[in-house]
């Protein structure tokens, strides 16, 4: 297929030799910190990581001048003295770090017995604490390291296919440093009857730097609901997690992906996602960001086959001095597809929110229907939102719209409600809940939607 543009690749000029060397030094320090990486599983991963090391060294960490990171200065969150680690092991299990105060009781309440529950501690799969008793036969859930090491054909074939050509320095960095993560594979013609829930626990030492890497593969005609929740427990100081997940959704398959982010103020998270959406397939991704010192969600969707349907939704509630950035890219690379994107933000106190969403329609992607909407409510006088919706269209027979609104709560509606006997606080609350509901309503799993609505209610007050 003819590439419509190469513009996105040239966001920065080439770096000088000295800077490249400097990048290599930082990278090598982090590689040494980690010890065992995916490279240790065999030649495929080794070649991939070597290539990623070169790619990263050539660009380095994003700066404020990097267009895609204009509103999120990564260097102010991820510093060079952060220590890269490959997940961590629990208390009670071999090799635990004495500083780690995580107990099983701390995260057990987060697990739902009706789901297939997977526990990741700092991105590392802990089978001992996961609950796979409901796991239907044929579904593979295991550590990505193990899958690659065992020569799992699907893992080896698809690892890094989505992010291979990424221009995102943090995605390159993840590929270079990844030590482990989760691998999920759903067999052909199989609909997973219960949701898979990944409970991600962030815990441990200050200045820890994690690069978990996940791969989710849906064979043709399969269906999966994947729920992810992110929590902090007993963090000793600020940590930075730079995670990356590749999703491959084969022909006529369907993915529901729900994400709840409720880490604490010490957690800083960059979440890279790559979705490869093929012919006749369907995906619905809903990200609910309720907390976290710094959160950057960076999903990219490649629509590679005809008649695919993509829904990308997000709600972000940012408070205090926190920062949440949603940077999204939907690439229509095939004709006759639709995408619908809705991101809503509630920004309070001194917090900053960012929405930067782009829809790119290739020349061949005729009959594309693409919609994007971003709506924000600023609660405080010092609350900030930076919003930048973008359309780049090279086909001539498409229907694409985008729009963004930012404002305070509707004063007329508040007075209307108050004139019926609701006090100001209650009226504001109800308006905010209603604002959020448009996003939470896109979660189909009832149990999780109910939980999310409760969480939203607790967080929006």
């Amino acid at each position: 297929m003819e590439l419509a543009t190469a513009k996105t690749n040239i966001s920065r000029g080439a770096l000088g030799e000295a800077e490249i060397i400097r990048n290599k030094i930082i990278l090598n320090k982090w590689i040494n910190d980690i010890g065992i990486r995916l490279s240790n599983t065999g030649s495929v991963a080794k070649n991939t990581q070597q290539k990623a090391e070169e790619n990263f060294s050539a660009v380095g960490l994003p700066t404020k001048k990097t267009e895609d990171f204009k509103y999120t200065n990564i260097r102010s969150y991820l510093q060079e003295d952060y220590v890269a680690k490959n997940g961590e092991i629990l208390v009670g299990v071999q090799n635990f770090e004495p500083s780690l105060k995580l107990r099983v009781e701390d995260f057990q309440p987060l697990l739902n017995d009706d789901f297939i529950s997977i526990v990741l501690i700092n991105g590392k799969y802990v089978p001992e604490y996961s609950r796979l008793k409901n796991l239907p036969e044929g579904i593979t859930i295991k550590s990505l390291f193990k899958a690659l090491e065992e020569g799992n054909a699907v893992a080896i074939k698809h690892f890094n296919t989505g992010l291979e050509k990424t221009t995102n320095p943090l995605a390159m960095l993840n590929t270079a440093l990844a030590g482990d993560g989760i691998f999920i594979s759903i067999p052909e013609n199989f609909s997973c009857p219960i949701p898979v829930h990944i409970a991600n626990i962030c815990t441990g030492d200050a200045k820890s730097f994690y690069n978990p890497r996940h791969l989710v593969y849906l064979h043709k005609n399969s269906e999966l609901t994947l729920i992810e929740s992110y929590h902090s427990i007993n963090q000793a100081g600020k940590t930075f997690t730079n995670s990356a997940t590749e999703f491959i959704i084969e022909d006529n398959a369907s993915l529901e992906n729900y994400i709840l982010q409720e880490e604490d103020i010490l957690s800083q998270r960059n979440d890279v996602r790559h979705f490869a959406v093929n012919t006749g397939s369907r995906m619905n991704s809903v990200t609910i960001s309720l907390n976290g010192g710094m959160v950057r969600n960076d999903p990219t969707v490649f629509i590679n086959g005809e008649n695919a349907e993509v829904h990308l939704n997000g709600l972000f509630v940012v408070k205090e001095n926190c920062h949440t950035d949603n940077h999204t890219m939907v690439e229509h690379r095939a004709p006759n597809c639709m995408s619908n994107e809705l991101y809503k933000g509630v920004i309070a106190d001194n917090a900053t929110g960012v929405f930067n969403g782009k829809i790119l329609v290739y020349r061949d992607a005729q009959k594309t229907n693409a919609y994007q909407s971003n709506k924000n409510i600023l609660m405080g006088d010092k609350s900030t939102i930076n919003t930048k919706p973008q359309l780049e269209i090279y086909a001539d027979d498409v229907r694409c719209t985008h729009g963004t609104t930012t404002g305070k709560l509707n004063e007329e509606a508040l007075f209307y409600m108050r004139s019926r006997g609701l006090n100001e606080k209650l009226a504001k609350n109800i308006l905010l809940q209603a604002f959020a509901k448009e996003v939470s309503n896109t979660i189909k799993n009832e149990a999780f939607r109910t939980l999310i609505e409760q969480k939203i209610e607790e967080n929006i007050q």
Binding site: R420, G421, L422, Q433, A434, K437
Partner: protein, 253 residues
Amino acid sequence: MLEIKDLKVSVEGKQILKGLNLTINKGEVHAIMGPNGSGKSTLASVIAGKEDYTVDSGSITFNGKDMLELSADERAKEGMFLAFQYPVEIPGVSTINFLKTAISEIRQYRGLPAMEAKDFLKMLKEKQKLVEIEANLTGRSVNEGFSGGEKKRNEIFQMAMLEPTLAILDETDSGLDIDALRIVATGVNTLRSKENAFVVITHYQRLLEYIIPDFVHVLYQGRIVKSGTRELALELEGKGYDWIKKEFSELAV
């Protein structure tokens, strides 16, 4: 019940109400008429407690309580209701849930026990019938995508549910066809009792053919310049507002 004395109100430095007096007793229906810009909607908003206005002087007392000391929601809890000229759309909040919350807040304020779900549903059905509003409309988000007539009927429906002792209808007749006008009037007439009162603000006398007022007041340039009975409304209809404007233009400062 409601006593307004020498009320002077301005917005952004411009005085809109310039010394307004009005007394309303239980069981009465008052109509307030007047040309555009005379201050009718300002009066309604100020009574209901909208904060965009500055009360320069005067008083509003309701059942002996100083309303200017109370917030909009407290005034509603005391038994006031404003039917809006332009009802606001509230996406994502169903009329039923909105009313459930409002009733619960009002009852709590008055020290009454919470309403039983079955009583609420019974009341809901009764009042829906009264204003001929379809159940699917009240299940939807408040006023969202409603026609002009549906919005006005929803106002009367909410009024019926909240059972205020004083209801102010701000140009409820504007934009209504004859059928909707009849439904709104039937709603008001059914709710009329010895214990409550209504203020009907209107530009035309048409609504007053259906809701027969006890008193008619003419508001002009921020003052009530004429008060009378129903005949005054008919006179206004016949002569138009020019007559008032000529007679009272010397009041203009």
